[in-house]
Symmetry: C2
Subunit: 233 residues, 2 copies
Amino acid sequence: MKAVILLSGGLDSSTVLYQAKADRCECYALSFDYRQRHWRELESAAEIAHSAGVVEHQIVSFDLRQWGGSALTDDRLDLPSERSLAEMAVNIPITYVPARNTIFLSFAVAYAEAIGAERVYIGVNALDYSGYPDCRPDYIQAMQEVYRLGTKQGREGQAITIVTPLLDLKKTEIIQLGNRLGVPWQQTWSCYAGTEEACGVCDSCRLRLAAFAELGLTDPLPYTPPEGTDRFV
Amino acid sequence: MKAVILLSGGLDSSTVLYQAKADRCECYALSFDYRQRHWRELESAAEIAHSAGVVEHQIVSFDLRQWGGSALTDDRLDLPSERSLAEMAVNIPITYVPARNTIFLSFAVAYAEAIGAERVYIGVNALDYSGYPDCRPDYIQAMQEVYRLGTKQGREGQAITIVTPLLDLKKTEIIQLGNRLGVPWQQTWSCYAGTEEACGVCDSCRLRLAAFAELGLTDPLPYTPPEGTDRFV
């Protein structure tokens, strides 16, 4: 069975790709160059796609900086690094990119229908990212309905299914799953900053490092905190 | 009130833009360069946006040729020109681009949320294009639900509304509406071919010409049929 896997190159989507492999799918990876600050994740996506042995890795390019609205696409906005983990879980953060998952899932269904895939995998997570509106189960259900009604395949009763293996997992559980699946963590990239090594202080690095620490594990990815910073989490 | 208007440069979306103006919206036009064969429509979109006096006209570029699957993005496939108008209305044609409206509406909601718009206008039409799955009312409703659940504005009870002024109109009624609104037809572009003048023989040209003829009107757009063709409809 063919599957399209939305692959950012981060810890979550890499785990999802390895899950799709474990589900015996022929994997078609799909990444986006939307002029994100953290372009470095695209290199990780290419490495992970290669390691996982995908059939094909497509990168779609467009410019979400055209109208701004997010710290992830606007160099003038500061990246958050001081929020508590608890606060991250309830408030929509400045790193929210309007409708990003909707755009990603739209291209994914177009790609899936063009190649005759039956599934689209996405690494959304309703627990650690509950601040994001487009990571929640009701949103995914609504998008599933769009998949059913908005495609030829769907109208013919063969709707492409959105698969969300991480939806109800905590970050620590995702790492445990990835360990079982053999995800090469050192190739993944979670940091919001576009630096050569991960910063260790942005929201995304801190969530990741805290989860490895909670499990008593060491994240194999090298970190270089910005000058003047001497703590990680 | 701010509104994003999906503007292809065709007869339908141009009428929708003028309807949004008549609805007293501040209009933000949005077009796509997806490497369609009929790139000429983008010039029309720019002209129409200018004539209508929009606040801004954004063009988002990406490449839907990456995975093919449609005669509109694949030069190797022939454009249809021999189908009956009745057949056009029931079968999904080869010019169907997988998930195109889903991609367009996704960028539209991202743009709308970034600028604080309350509406997104789209010129879908369930009668003359009933062959396309993503032009039907149930599809639009599903996408409206994605708008509500997948955005910060929607989660806060201020969902961006999808407005479809042409949904239940016949092509002749769209032309009558456009005439009342003063749409400059000679600036619009409907032809699927990428030639300098409209071909008059592709499905899209024939639908348009048949509607003008039925009303006893003359389409002011110049047509040059391909060599060896001596009839229009």
